[in-house]
């Protein structure tokens, strides 16, 4: 497992006030980020917890992509059609993968992008901003 950089980034964020911790689901590490702000409406609450999968080869340059949202949630009173990935249970909470990614040519770049910048990329999903393809 090569995630020492991710651990350092997470510890630094936690030390400066971000609600974040490293959690494991078996051998798979995740960054559990608390209280990502969201507009209400259309979302049913002002903050959500998210999970970010940390690739086992993060230190070797494998980037972050996508995230899981803590369930339950509602969007415009129903489901968001991009919250459509696999579900998992971690720390007694249910999570579902969100189809929110980096565009071609703008992928996560190790050394420039970090766990911190990925969190802000994920925040863009809740705000429906920065999407280069159709908005929902």
């Amino acid at each position: 497992m090569h995630i020492a950089y991710a651990k350092t980034e997470i510890e630094r964020l936690a030390a400066t006030g971000t609600g974040i911790e490293l959690v494991l689901d078996g051998a798979q590490p995740y960054a559990w980020v608390r209280d990502i702000p969201a507009p209400t409406p259309p979302w049913d609450r002002a903050t959500y917890d998210i999970l970010i999968a940390i690739p086992l080869a993060y230190d070797l340059g494998t980037g972050l992509d996508g995230f899981y949202i803590a369930l339950p949630y509602t969007f415009n009173g129903g489901n968001h059609n991009r919250v459509n990935g696999q579900t998992l249970i971690l720390k007694d909470r249910q999570w579902r993968a969100v189809s929110w990614h980096y565009p071609d040519g703008k992928q996560f770049r190790a050394g420039i992008d970090t766990v911190e910048s990925h969190i802000f990329h994920c925040r863009g999903f809740f705000l429906a901003r920065g999407a280069i393809n159709a908005r929902v």
Binding site: P39, G66, G85, S99, W100, Y102, I112, S117, R129
Partner: protein
């Protein structure tokens, strides 16, 4: 060193009270005259600090006494502390790791300090000192070490529309921006570990 503004020259009288026998406090405490540089509510105050206090602690005590907030936090502040010397000249920013005892051993000596509140801005969780009062989003991103070709800058932080990259913005202290790489929605169900 730089000149103090005119409205700070009235510090002279208060400064003078620190000279001579008035400094004779308990052997473990030192009295300083403190002020905030270029502050509209210009005021002077006195603080008493331990000789072994660091200048970071002195800065914090001065800020609380003068009712100004250090950014981003008192422990990690980007704000600066300066000595004010003869003829009311301001020294270079002090090393905040020094303690009072060490500071008072330096020449020239002074018991008059001034806080410089810098133009601190926040980009995501990164605090930086803006070098100019007006900057373009491109320059702000560069200040945070983020390539403008890859990131968009948003203000207010929850804004949906990115700022025009070349349009200068007037900055204010404590202003918070968000920088974000664009995203794309996937087409359907997918595994979060791969793009779909």
């Amino acid at each position: 060193m730089q000149e103090l503004s005119n409205n700070q020259r009235d510090a002279r009288e208060a400064d003078a009270t620190l000279e001579g026998p008035q400094v004779a406090l308990g052997s473990h405490e030192v009295k300083f005259l403190v002020e905030v540089l270029n502050h509209p509510d210009h005021k002077l105050s006195h603080i008493h600090v331990r000789r072994d206090a660091t200048l970071l602690e002195v800065l914090d005590e001065s800020a609380r006494n003068l009712d100004v907030k250090l950014l981003p936090t008192p422990q990690t502040t980007l704000d600066r502390l300066h000595g004010v010397y003869e003829d009311h000249r301001i020294g270079e920013p002090l090393d905040l790791n020094l303690n009072v005892e060490e500071f008072l051993q330096q020449e020239p000596k002074t018991h008059h300090l001034a806080i410089e509140l810098v133009l601190a801005i926040e980009i995501n969780t990164r605090w930086r000192i803006a070098p100019e009062k007006e900057m373009t989003p491109k320059a702000i991103l560069a200040l945070a070490g983020l390539p403008w070709e890859q990131y968009s800058l948003y203000y207010p932080a929850d804004s949906v529309d990115p700022l025009p990259p070349d349009a200068p913005l007037e900055l204010h202290r404590g202003q918070r921006f968000e920088a974000q790489r664009d995203g794309k929605y996937g087409a359907g169900a997918c595994d979060a570990h791969r793009v779909c």
